[in-house]
């Protein structure tokens, strides 16, 4: 009996090619897991009614010998990535009945490869949160311990893979929204270099930071998805593709073996078990022949404050399009402005309002220079700092998160919640690729993750690190 929780894409592909497994079988197993667990875990907001039809078509393609690695593989999609004709709510009441009129670039790619899109996964409203507690449709529970959060904002996409409801999934990462939940659920999660994966069809949150990326059980699985969804797209003007640039700087390079550790940044607020695990991984990597070097990065500690100025500023402008006029929730008021207000108030949850108001504040006259402009200057210093460090080391390594998965309601104060992204946001600010890899478990059995951040366009080499951690 196959357990989807242990099955990799590679293995499923081999089995399907050899005729030992069909996509219909595989999808049926996922549907069974969804039936048994989704009521409790609240992972999927919708399971598509045509999944078995998709699987049948994939089986035909496989039979004809034209199957690719993702053909017939069930993939879960975060609810902020558009699929033609399917609802797309972004975890919000504002878009509760919104139906997408086109495919996101990444969806187009998955469809071209014959992947089975199994359903849309629950998330923090408009991808804002670190626990999925901000979803308008109730929180997702962590499959490893349902009394704990799965992380966020792509918590549903992480839980779907961890509970065997899909083989892999797509999420979006603005400040850690793939890597933090991947770490909490014991998965590999990857945020590509800014521009390598098109955001056409991703509900925009913070446009200078957002990236789409994969969740998988292994780096190999994550890489299969990454290879499929990356590439240049004229519908996203920030898209640059990656192949050309890879060649330019000589990537991938499997012999990148020098890793920097920003010790000064790891002094406070980290769970002792996470820190102990981090030291064990350093030892392991040293045994494998990696050179581990302490690096000094004085600007890194400003990443989170800088993020909480730039991100809300972009959120407040990006979400101004949601006014209930052309699509989404509309509540009629006395006049057009009153209608905007009533619609937005009915559609937006508390965290969304908080960030819009914060963004409006930092962009307002009198505060713009002190906050927004200054934050961009510091952001530039962070980018420069990474650039300089990468002249010396190949990767920078930190824990992915300061703690393991926390309990529901544990982080009521917004700043406390925001601190769970302390190690992940700098990659978004600097546009760098970063990966989280499962690195062990705490004494209570909760997954711990380790994060590697690489230079721009080093995406491919990040996938090579896990095999040395396994052995």
């Amino acid at each position: 009996m196959i357990d989807v929780k242990d099955l990799t894409i590679e293995k499923a592909y081999e089995m399907m090619k050899a005729g030992e497994l069909t996509s219909v079988d595989l999808v049926s197993l996922c549907l069974q897991n969804i039936k048994e667990k989704n009521n409790e875990l609240n992972v999927f907001l919708e399971v598509f009614d045509d999944v078995l039809d998709q699987a049948r078509i994939a089986d035909e393609i496989i039979k004809s010998g034209k199957g690719m690695k993702l053909t017939g593989i069930p993939i879960a999609i975060k609810d902020n990535i558009l699929i033609t004709g399917k609802k797309n709510s972004s975890g919000s009441k504002m878009l509760e009945n919104y139906v997408a009129s086109y495919d996101a670039f990444v969806i187009k790619k998955l469809k071209e490869h014959g992947a089975v899109l199994i359903g849309r996964t629950n998330m923090d409203e408009f991808a804002m949160g670190s626990s999925t507690e901000n979803s308008a449709y109730g929180p997702v529970k962590n499959p490893i311990d349902p009394s704990r959060v799965p992380g966020g904002s792509s918590g549903g996409s992480a839980a779907a893979v961890a509970s065997g409801m899909a083989l892999a999934s797509l999420g979006s990462d603005t400040g850690g929204s793939i890597r933090q939940p991947a770490s909490f659920c014991g998965l590999v999660g990857m945020k590509p270099t800014y521009g390598v994966v098109s955001r056409s069809g991703l509900t925009a949150m913070s446009s200078s930071l957002d990236q789409i990326g994969p969740f998988g059980k292994t780096s190999e699985d994550a890489k299969i998805i990454f290879d499929c969804i990356s590439g240049k797209d004229e519908m996203d003007s920030t898209s640059v593709g990656c192949r050309v640039l890879d060649t330019r700087i000589g990537c991938p390079t499997p012999d990148r073996r020098k890793i920097g550790v920003p010790r000064d940044f790891l002094k406070e607020g980290i769970d002792p078990e996470v820190l102990q695990n981090f030291e064990e991984i350093i030892k392991k990597l040293k045994n494998k022949g990696y050179e581990i070097k302490d690096v000094v990065m004085p600007y890194l500690k400003y990443s989170l404050p800088v993020y909480y100025i730039i991100m809300p500023a972009e959120v407040s402008t990006n979400l101004s399009r949601l006014d209930g006029m052309r699509y989404g929730t509309r509540k009629e008021g006395a006049d057009v402005f009153d209608s905007y207000k009533k619609s937005r108030s009915a559609g937006f949850g508390m965290e969304t309002r908080r960030r819009i108001i914060l963004g409006t504040y930092v962009l307002s006259h009198g505060y713009f220079d002190a906050y927004y402009n200054k934050a961009w200057k510091v952001r530039r210093a962070i980018m420069k700092e990474y650039e300089d460090i990468f002249k010396d080391v190949d990767f920078v390594m930190t824990p992915t998160t300061p703690t393991t998965a926390f309990k529901f309601g544990e982080k009521k104060d917004p700043v406390q919640m925001y601190l769970s992204d302390i190690f992940t946001v700098s990659a978004n600010l600097a546009g760098l690729p970063a990966i989280t890899i499962p690195s062990g478990k705490s004494s209570s059995g909760l997954p711990i993750g380790i994060q590697f951040t690489g230079p721009l366009f080093s995406d491919e080499s990040l996938f090579t690190l896990e095999k040395d951690l396994r052995g």
């Binding site: 033609t84 004709g85 139906v99 997408a100 009129s101 086109y102 200078s208 004229e234 003007s237 920030t238 400003y302 989170l304 404050p305 800088v306 909480y308 100025i309 407040s316 101004s320 006014d323 006029m325 052309r326 699509y327 989404g328 929730t329 509309r330 009629e332 006049d335 057009v336 402005f337 209608s339 905007y340 207000k341 937005r344 108030s345 937006f348 508390m350 309002r353 908080r354 819009i356 108001i357 914060l358 409006t360 504040y361 307002s364 002190a370 906050y371 402009n373 200054k374 934050a375 961009w376 200057k377 510091v378 952001r379 530039r380 210093a381 104060d413 917004p414 700043v415 925001y418 546009g431």
Partner: protein, 90 residues
């Protein structure tokens, strides 16, 4: 920052807040601003901020659209003869 500031920001952002929500937002804003204000004091090289932005142009050509007109119209909260219906602006 005080309640009046929150009210002004909410007005600018076109969001209605109850009195209780205003109080919560004020408290949260104070906490968050306290946390981020460190940025004001960071010493950075005196350079103009670079926004990493450049225009990406395309030719102004008519191309067949992949967007479903039908699906777009179906999203209109209120419509008349396939036109979007809104309250009068002026």
């Amino acid at each position: 920052m005080n309640i009046k500031d929150v009210e002004k920001l909410a007005e600018l952002a076109k969001i209605e807040l109850s009195d209780a929500e205003k109080k919560t937002i004020l408290k949260d804003m104070e906490g968050i601003l306290e946390y981020v204000k460190v940025v004001e004091k960071v010493e950075v090289p005196d350079v103009e901020p670079v926004y990493n932005q450049k225009n990406v142009w395309r030719e102004d050509e008519i191309k067949p659209s992949v967007f479903s007109n039908d699906l777009i119209i179906k999203q209109f909260p209120d419509a008349q003869d396939n036109f979007l219906k809104v309250k009068k602006i002026l």
